[in-house]
Symmetry: D2
Subunit: 162 residues, 4 copies
Amino acid sequence: MTAREFRYGIVPPAQAATLSGRELLQGMIEGRFPAPPITQQLTFWLAEVGEGTAVFEGEPGAHLLNPMGIVHGGWTMTLIDSAAGCAAHTLLAPGVGYTTVETKVNFSRAIRADTGRVRAQARVVSKGRQVISAEAYVAAADGQVLAHGTSTLLVLQGAGNR
Amino acid sequence: MTAREFRYGIVPPAQAATLSGRELLQGMIEGRFPAPPITQQLTFWLAEVGEGTAVFEGEPGAHLLNPMGIVHGGWTMTLIDSAAGCAAHTLLAPGVGYTTVETKVNFSRAIRADTGRVRAQARVVSKGRQVISAEAYVAAADGQVLAHGTSTLLVLQGAGNR
Amino acid sequence: MTAREFRYGIVPPAQAATLSGRELLQGMIEGRFPAPPITQQLTFWLAEVGEGTAVFEGEPGAHLLNPMGIVHGGWTMTLIDSAAGCAAHTLLAPGVGYTTVETKVNFSRAIRADTGRVRAQARVVSKGRQVISAEAYVAAADGQVLAHGTSTLLVLQGAGNR
Amino acid sequence: MTAREFRYGIVPPAQAATLSGRELLQGMIEGRFPAPPITQQLTFWLAEVGEGTAVFEGEPGAHLLNPMGIVHGGWTMTLIDSAAGCAAHTLLAPGVGYTTVETKVNFSRAIRADTGRVRAQARVVSKGRQVISAEAYVAAADGQVLAHGTSTLLVLQGAGNR
């Protein structure tokens, strides 16, 4: 399966609000809901979700290079931010939203255009009533850690916004 | 000036090694060197450099949206990581490279497809022999802070790599 | 003024709840309220508060050393966390509390037992309804940056807790 | 075993340089080397080391309280910074030092004077030639996560300093 098989778009908020986070994300994986537009630009996609976990996969390439000729750290951060956010989202009931308050990423090894597909695996570390923290690791096919990071999420009850 | 006027590509490393960081970056601004490919995907560009400072501008749009219909935090992190890295790069002599060790970003306000052009302004906070830290702020046209963050860079003397 | 002139203790919550953050903190500076116990262990004290700003001072010493014989980074982090938290607290009305969600610190230069008094200056960068971020810089007497960091705070309305 | 049984001081650098990180740290646990002074102020101690791992224990108490009457986040950050740093140190050969470049901590649950002994368990996530990253989790006796964080360390070959 590659990123190119997906439809891109936004699930209407009124429809999304009827689903738990896990139902919504599972629907994206199965193609019943569109994948968000940013994933087309950056060739990555949601691959798996569980209870407090999420996995994204991404395909490096020449379109992602920074001035030094390696994949821009922003791509890696996008994978980590996505995985950590979705891991948290899997724990939220219908109508409950979240916003990412901050994300921090360590770049362990350079990712190159020909590194091959990478996986960003995330899990929730702590879930409070208002704050969730989740961590994510990006690894190459050989399992070596390429980057890792942590996100802090604010849970938004009802129509709440910070 | 918009992102669409740029040529995209990588400056050959042998050529880049003859230039100070500031000369290389100024050359990108002036169009004498190509802009890196990631900036085309993510509609942002280097706008200004100074001694230990750098400014990127970025154009939000529908191609950057996350599942909630707002601009993905990964885009904002890419701008901050780029601005902080280039601010550090302006202080490096020819033949001296750097790699970003980690970047951390706070998301203060949602960026929307119609937020309009944003600016990411960065400055070096501390420069040691091996480690540089720089901070960056992303602001809307009205000056309101949308996000802010810090990067830690490792200076690579000669052909060094970590 | 040194840390040794302070009374140490906790302001009773019922009394603290009648005061704005700034009133409470100004009362600590003026000695009308006790300084918190941790400040005695770690020889630091609140020196100034303003609208969204706070300054702590600290006295390094042999009691703060880590195994390498330099001041433990935990001391520096404590100053930054305190300054950032109090800068945010100055913006809160009576009865409104906060909790620090996360703090991240860059260590720029080693602090030694004989570095002399340092200052940690903090300011609020962004204030939302639920989330505040503040940054702080620790500097020596000569103004050189020794460390810097950012805290993210959650505002707790009424008796709320996360 | 409690913090009070330790001798406090600094291992002479010339002696420390003859030992691997793991030998030095194991010697502290066994009382053959003094514990660093900061651990007396903040009632915590090194409990275990392994290959790329370290565990600290700490005893909360009234001497650690912040103005809100809970244990200051600086204490928690000190445990995490210590555990992450020592986990990295266990991988270093004699004569090789390190310095912590940055530490980031999430505060998941309040620690109180009567929370009881906590454990900070750390492990190295990635080890490069110049940069090591390690993560640490602080847990109560019941295993609940109270805080977690990440440190980035710079390896110092010989007498190098950044």
